[in-house]
């Protein structure tokens, strides 16, 4: 019996666990690669402005997330960008590979023959990117993970507690961090992040504005 029941199928609409919160915040949703994705809120200029001046956060739960178990040889504490995917090691024997949703099936297929256990955790983990000069301050409101340059340089990967739940943070770019956490906690984490960001003048941004801001 295959593990297909773990992987979202293109034949049915996939939703982020934060979709309701995003809609309530004014998100415009678009179907992309089988997912309802919050692509924009109040327009690209203000959203880009948020990422440039304070902190914007974007729901990226649609990213493919594949857990592999077995010796992977990746350096701990650091994510490796390879084949358009982030390779994020948790332990010497366990890592998570993050990719664009359209690439998940191919990635799974490729990894299956290489590692003893490969499991699609796309639905198990929600993801938020927090981006902007105050992003670190937003994180400081709910996690004790050290995100200073000296501790978490660009491409640094830090598993730890976020908002009192297990999670992990990947520094994708200079002021842009991708946070992973349990999907069932999506609604909760949205409120935590939104509360912290809004108190600092930040707010939600769509993935389109985020892509432009981080380009």
């Amino acid at each position: 019996m295959s593990y297909e029941f773990l992987t979202p199928a293109p034949t049915a609409l996939a939703r982020s666990p934060m979709e309701r919160q995003a809609l309530a915040a004014g998100a415009r949703l678009e179907q992309r690669d089988g997912w309802n994705v919050a692509v924009a809120y109040d327009g690209e200029p203000p959203e880009r402005g948020r990422c440039a001046a304070t902190a914007g956060f974007a729901d990226r739960s649609h990213l493919g997330k594949v857990e592999l178990q077995g010796s992977h040889g990746l350096p701990l504490g650091q994510a490796t960008r390879r084949d358009d995917a982030w390779w994020c090691p948790f332990t010497p024997e366990k890592a998570l590979v993050l990719c664009e949703p359209a690439d998940t099936a191919t990635l799974l297929e490729r990894l299956e023959g290489t590692f003893p256990t490969v499991v699609d955790l796309t639905s198990a983990l929600a993801a938020l990117t927090i981006s902007g000069p105050l992003a670190r301050e937003v994180f400081a409101r709910f996690t004790a993970i050290d995100l200073r340059d000296s501790a978490t340089p660009v491409e640094g990967f830090r598993p730890g507690s976020v908002g009192r739940t297990p999670g992990a943070i990947l520094r994708e770019a200079g002021e842009s961090w991708l946070m992973l956490f349990g999907a069932a906690l999506g609604s909760y984490m949205w409120t935590v992040v939104a509360d912290a960001a809004e108190s600092l003048g930040g707010g939600p941004v769509g993935v389109d504005a985020l892509a432009v801001a981080n380009a």
Partner: protein, 957 residues
């Protein structure tokens, strides 16, 4: 006029007025004023009433150290007026006085209640007659405490934050030493945070008129990227974490090195009347004049034991305050300050101190003379004055250092406790480390800051060599500390209350009494008298209390020692400590749908679950009559994969799984080493090397850890993946469940094609699913496990397909009833920490003949060979009363022998059913047991087979 002419470096802006109210009356201050300075400038001398005796208290330290100026600001009690900046429209009220601050009825406690209010008086005076204690308690509780918390919840709430901040170096204290430390460390490249109690860094530099230097150092630190936290006291030291409270934010600073530049605290002297408004610490008087341009008095007397008081007298003179006399306890000495005072013709009494202060509502006269003198002794001088500036020496502020592991020793020459041992990772600089002058403090700060940075690998050999040289200079300079006269515990034997602890109104006599009553160590006395336990946290009273204890017990101050330093070092609102509430709640991917359907949502472990949709009985009946759909996404779900997966499960469970055929399901009960039931669930074999394990909702985390623990120990070739949150699950059950399912999938759903306890992979409504044919609720049922991202899609598809056939959602409560009808246990409800599978009527699940040793085998073998006392059975009740879960089982109407674990009214069966632990002798169909429930006695009939479909024919159909 209280305001002096503009002072160089003063903090107030004389062009900008600020208006606020005090007890409803308008007060005008200046921008930059504190509440205390503005009120003082307006003529107010009484700021508060003392805790027990309700004596008048006025400004004393003007640095947030003492409890004398606590007020209520905009509803928040316990605010220090002397450090809280005034703001336009602020509403300030006094605390602890009724009906008014000027006339406080409770002052009678001071005038007449002395004999009745010794330490611990509430346990002594108010114990007889015993029946009146509730009344006494009410009165005492009403009288105790400071301030009033607003009654309305909304008025008590305000936004508070935690902010986690990592740093290379944290500097606590922003005086000359702290600023220099921060600068030195930052210059070497370290990431530095500096936390200072004051509204702007500078400490003594500002208070003593060196504002230009203070601001220069502050600007330099800021330019170097030092994060400056002001009005931000450090609250404690917790193994590398220092909480720093800054208004609405609690910074949790985790620094690799900490430089403590916490300074020293000027100490009061103990003499009758030492708490009168007008008696101030010399530093407080100077701060009022220097920072706020306020004359602390029109005619001052200064009493000191060291140069600090002399320097204060010089400063006051320079600002136009008349200094009538200076009493210096030292017989000798010719410091620069003394020379200046002599030059200006100030009358100086050597070897003298203050013996008494008197006045009605504030200070009017003082008596100076040789220490220890009684009434009318030789050499006494009585002087009229409205300011007595006292300097009883200083005590290094070592509390935070002590909390981080530093040790102190008593220094006879200096008359206070000094640091003797430093913990790893901590540095001390400035006055707390014994560097007294501002110049020395700066230098010691630079050495400490650079030293801390060097320890972290910053700097180079040259900087290390330079700092090492400087360090030696700093240490040498500490040997030349100016002479101090150690004051006696109490300066005179005159009548009148001498307050050792201003916070708790503890007098020297109270300490005497506590020793007489056997509380003869400083720690015991502290607990008995509450000295050092008030808002000042020992700043003002630790050293005086130690001196009194030494005198009373005839031991040395070194032997008396100090009390244990504990956080918080600074008073802090509970709301700031609490921070923002985090309540991680897990929600299934279909949660919003449940809400839309009107579900009552409750907590179930760490999940939010649909308890019912308004009519649990109808929901249960629907499962029997048509079909029901329940969200069971909360089940724990594990993928166990690897060549040894079967062996792992055989070792973890009492029954076998290695012989389970792929595509088949088996129920499992997990036992502890002691053979007790830990958890249960179903296990489906996916293929030769893979199993899909479900657990109870609340046990998911513990089971994953249990698996991981043993897997690490046994080193089997198995990988575990927790997919609990990745897979949603629903249970579609009921006579029409098959029909509904078949309409959405190509899978053969016939009884033959998809038999009971089969597990299959198929798409349902386009969603890839793992389908488990199991029957927790007793009807034909299918558990569908699928990617949680498709939760709403699949729920909608099932409801749409099933709606015309009578499908309705059901919640947790109807599920509990349905499973009870089948006598399926709920672990933790029908079992407890002592329940074994044998007791729970599941002996068939324990395979003692299994070739594989398994967890709990030895204990279960013992249990199998022994006699059970009680066992789990079902029962029916005839009279319709549903007993409380936990109700007692009485076999013969005498003595409890068991308890009810579950009970419900079953509309399907038309009666009350339940499960209970009963003696084994009664575990037979038709036996009668008595259930005692809230005073009622109920006769129940024992049932040993499931109430509904006892032979499982429906389930397998």
């Amino acid at each position: 006029m209280t305001r002096l002419p503009p002072q160089d470096g003063e903090r107030v802006d004389r062009e900008r007025e600020v208006t606020f109210t005090f007890d409803g009356r308008e007060v005008t201050g200046l921008e930059g004023d504190t509440i205390g300075s503005a009120l003082f400038a307006s003529g107010r001398r009484t700021f508060s009433r003392s805790f027990k005796y309700h004596r008048r208290r006025g400004l004393m330290c003007c640095a947030g150290q003492c409890p004398n100026c606590l007020v209520q600001v905009d509803g928040a009690p316990g605010v220090r007026a002397c450090t809280e900046p005034v703001q336009e429209g602020m509403e300030v009220e006094h605390m602890n006085a009724r009906p008014s601050l000027e006339f406080d009825a409770m002052r009678a406690t001071d005038l007449f209640g002395g004999p009745f209010t010794p330490p611990g008086f509430y346990y002594k005076t108010f114990i007889r007659p015993r029946r009146l204690w509730p009344l006494y308690e009410k009165i005492l509780r009403h009288a105790a405490g400071l301030g009033k918390v607003p009654k309305e919840q909304a008025e008590r709430e305000w936004r508070t934050e935690y902010r986690r901040r990592h740093a290379d170096i944290l500097v606590v204290g922003g005086g000359a030493a702290g600023l220099s430390a921060a600068i030195a460390a930052a210059e070497l490249g370290a990431d530095v945070v500096l936390a200072d109690e004051g509204p702007e860094p500078g400490g003594r530099l500002l208070a003593e008129g060196n504002h230009a230097r203070a601001r220069e150092l502050t600007a330099r630190a800021r330019d170097l990227g030092v994060e400056l936290l002001t009005s931000a006291p450090a609250l404690g030291a917790f193994d590398g974490l220092v909480p720093v409270w800054e208004r609405d934010t609690l910074h949790q600073v985790r620094a690799q090195r900490i430089v403590y530049a916490t300074g020293a605290i000027e100490q009061p002297l103990l003499f009758p009347g030492n708490d009168l408004p007008g008696v101030m610490l010399s530093g407080g008087a100077v701060r009022l004049a220097t920072l706020y341009g306020i004359s602390p008095g029109s005619r001052a007397v200064v009493a000191t034991v060291d140069d600090r008081g002399l320097e204060a007298a010089v400063a006051l003179l320079a600002r136009g305050v008349e200094v009538a006399t200076v009493a210096d306890l030292r017989e000798h000495g010719n410091s620069d300050a003394m020379k200046q005072l002599m030059r200006q013709g100030v009358h100086v009494l050597r070897g003298a101190t203050v013996l008494q202060a008197e006045g009605r509502s504030s200070l009017q006269r003082v008596t100076l003379g040789p220490p220890g003198a009684g009434e009318g002794g030789a050499g006494e001088h009585e002087l009229t004055c409205d300011l007595l500036a006292v300097s009883g020496g200083s005590a290094p502020a070592t509390s935070l250092l002590a909390q981080s592991g530093a040790r102190t020793r008593y220094d006879e020459r200096l008359g206070h406790f000094v640091l003797s041992e430093m913990p790893e990772g901590a540095h001390a600089a400035g006055e707390v480390a014994g560097s007294g002058s501002l110049f020395e403090a700066e230098r010691s700060g630079a050495v400490a800051g650079a030293g801390a940075a060097h320890e972290l690998g910053f700097g180079d050999d040259e900087s290390r060599a330079r700092v090492e040289t400087e360090r030696k200079t700093v240490l040498n300079s500490r040997d030349g500390m100016p002479e101090v006269a150690v004051p006696p515990a109490v300066t005179s034997s005159r009548r009148g209350k001498c307050f050792a602890c201003l916070c708790e109104d503890v007098t020297a006599k109270d300490i005497h009494l506590s020793v007489e009553e056997g509380y003869d160590s400083i720690e015991l006395s502290k607990r008995y008298t509450t000295t050092t336990m008030g808002p000042c946290q020992g700043r003002m009273c630790q050293l005086p209390a130690v001196r009194l204890m030494a005198e009373e017990t005839g031991t040395s101050l070194a032997d008396v020692g100090t009390t244990t330093a504990r956080p918080p070092w600074h008073a802090v609102p509970m709301g700031a400590l609490a921070g923002r509430p985090f309540e991680p709640a897990k929600r299934s991917s279909m949660h919003a749908r449940h809400r839309e359907l009107g579900a009552n949502v409750l907590w179930a472990g760490d999940w939010r679950r649909a308890y019912d949709y308004g009519d649990p009985r109808a929901e249960a009946l629907a499962v029997h009559e048509t079909a029901g759909l329940i969200d069971v996404s909360t089940l724990g779900k594990l993928i166990v994969r690897g060549p040894d997966a079967g062996e792992l499960l055989d070792r973890l469970y009492p029954n076998r799984f290695s012989n389970l055929a792929p595509g088949r399901i088996r129920y499992g009960v997990m036992a502890s080493d002691a053979g007790r039931i830990m958890d249960d669930g179903t296990i489906c074999r996916l293929d030769d090397d893979s199993f899909y394990v479900t657990t109870t909702s609340s046990g998911a985390g513990a089971v994953y850890q249990w698996f991981s623990w043993w897997l690490a120990d046994w080193r089997l070739n198995v990988h575990l993946t927790d997919v609990t949150q990745g897979l949603s699950a629903v249970n579609l059950a009921g006579p029409r469940a098959r029909e509904i399912l078949a309409s959405l999938t190509d899978l053969d759903c016939s009884a033959e094609g998809f038999a009971y306890l089969d597990g299959k992979r198929a798409d349902v409504a386009g969603v890839p699913c793992l389908l488990l044919r199991i029957g927790f609720v007793g009807e034909v049922g299918y558990e569908l496990h699928f990617p949680s991202a498709h939760g709403e899609h699949l729920w909608d598809a099932l409801m749409e397909a099933g709606g015309p056939l009578g499908l309705r959602p059901f919640g947790l409560e109807p599920q509990r009833l349905l499973r009870l009808q089948k006598m399926h246990i709920l672990v933790g409800q029908d079992t407890d920490s002592e329940s074994t599978p044998f007791g729970a009527a599941m002996p068939w699940i324990v395979k003692l003949d299994k070739e594989q040793p398994f967890i709990g085998k030895w204990a279960l073998e013992k249990a199998a060979s022994g006699e059970l006392e009680t066992t789990l059975v079902g029962f029916r009740l005839a009279d319709g009363h549903v007993p409380t879960e936990g109700a007692v089982v009485l076999p013969d109407g005498d003595g409890p022998v068991g308890q009810v674990t579950s009970a419900r009214f079953s509309p399907q069966l038309g009666g009350v059913i339940g499960m209970a632990w009963v003696p084994v002798s009664l575990a037979k169909d038709g036996a009668s047991v008595t259930i005692s429930d809230e005073g009622r006695r109920l006769q129940a009939e024992v049932v040993t087979k499931p109430f509904y479909d006892p032979d499982g024919e429906v389930l397998r159909s």
